[in-house]
Symmetry: C3
């Protein structure tokens, strides 16, 4: 009844869990996170005048983000859910998912900072998935 | 170790992601959402005096809901999680899941409006799943 | 592209959905919940001076927790997500996941009470999974 196999669907779930955990916590590793994107990847966020183009731009941006979160003393979690996966004829995947950003300051209480609608284009590279394009649009914003 | 196959489980996850996205966002399509229910479907919400009986009643109700959300200028997301799926001998499925309703007004901040416990009866129709009965009970309410 | 099969991954998702539902709702069953742990299981929570060692200690603790939630008139839900599963050579599983604790008092409104980072060691017993060790660390706490 589906157009993707269970293996592909759960691989994508696991990929996202591992990807986002790379930048969450005391051992955040922005470089490893950047490697989950292709060299020519594009990261597009609604509200930003220009997308980030290329892994190095994405790396610089996530480094800044991770440093800011650490400086603020926050535990930050990204939840992805309500995942839809569609396979393209060329073997790549189109995904749509919701994201929640949950931040807990030292001593609490936590805040759910944002709800986002996200679309990825995932491509297979060397036996794993990489993000070729990510587009995220924050709810509550009309661009 | 499970009584449902991975394919059935992920198909249901994907079905819910697609179903709920049909009524979330600028291109909300209440008619397409209504088609994810059988013609004789029943939608039962704790606190409502009577369930909605039949796809046309469900369609009318969701149209009203979607129009209300649009009029309020909200981005509204339904998250389903903690999914349990049990297969019936006749090929239908019983599911139980938690739902969160997340609303973001223009300019924010978002609010998590409700936590619900949901039960569905899903039946196979023409190579896809349809909801024959949905029962939702909002936490915090004692009916 | 993954190191676990879709069947294992979805079995764990279903196991968690069933496990946590056992202690959520009017028909909470702390004894059944305790049975999802091995007899020699260890439950470790950041901030507690000592872990709970053994199923009976875990059972006593969850009974107390469930009674406290009932006395407070709360509907309490645990959401697990962003699941990562790794298979060990001995057939056991290591999992990492995020958890949210959502509490709704009678009449509302709900509160998202906590965000946690969790690690489990799951072992196969009699055709199902059991938790041999669970370690949970609440965000916002530096132990």
């Amino acid at each position: 009844m589906s157009d993707v196999s269970a293996q592909v669907y759960t691989d994508v779930q696991q990929f996202y869990a591992r990807q986002m955990n790379l930048i969450e916590g005391a051992d955040a590793d922005p470089d490893a996170w950047a490697e989950t994107f292709t060299e020519d990847a594009v990261f597009e966020a609604g509200g930003q005048p220009e997308p980030q183009v290329g892994r190095e731009a994405i790396r610089a941006s996530v480094r800044e983000g991770v440093a800011g979160i650490a400086a603020a003393g926050l535990d930050f979690r990204h939840w992805f859910g309500m995942l839809d996966v569609t396979a393209e004829p060329d073997g790549s995947l189109r995904t749509r998912y919701y994201a929640l950003a949950v931040a807990t300051p030292r001593g609490g209480p936590l805040g759910v900072r944002g709800s986002l609608l996200c679309h990825d284009h995932l491509v297979p590279r060397d036996g794993r998935w990489q993000v070729r394009r990510r587009s995220v649009a924050a709810d509550g914003r009309r661009d």
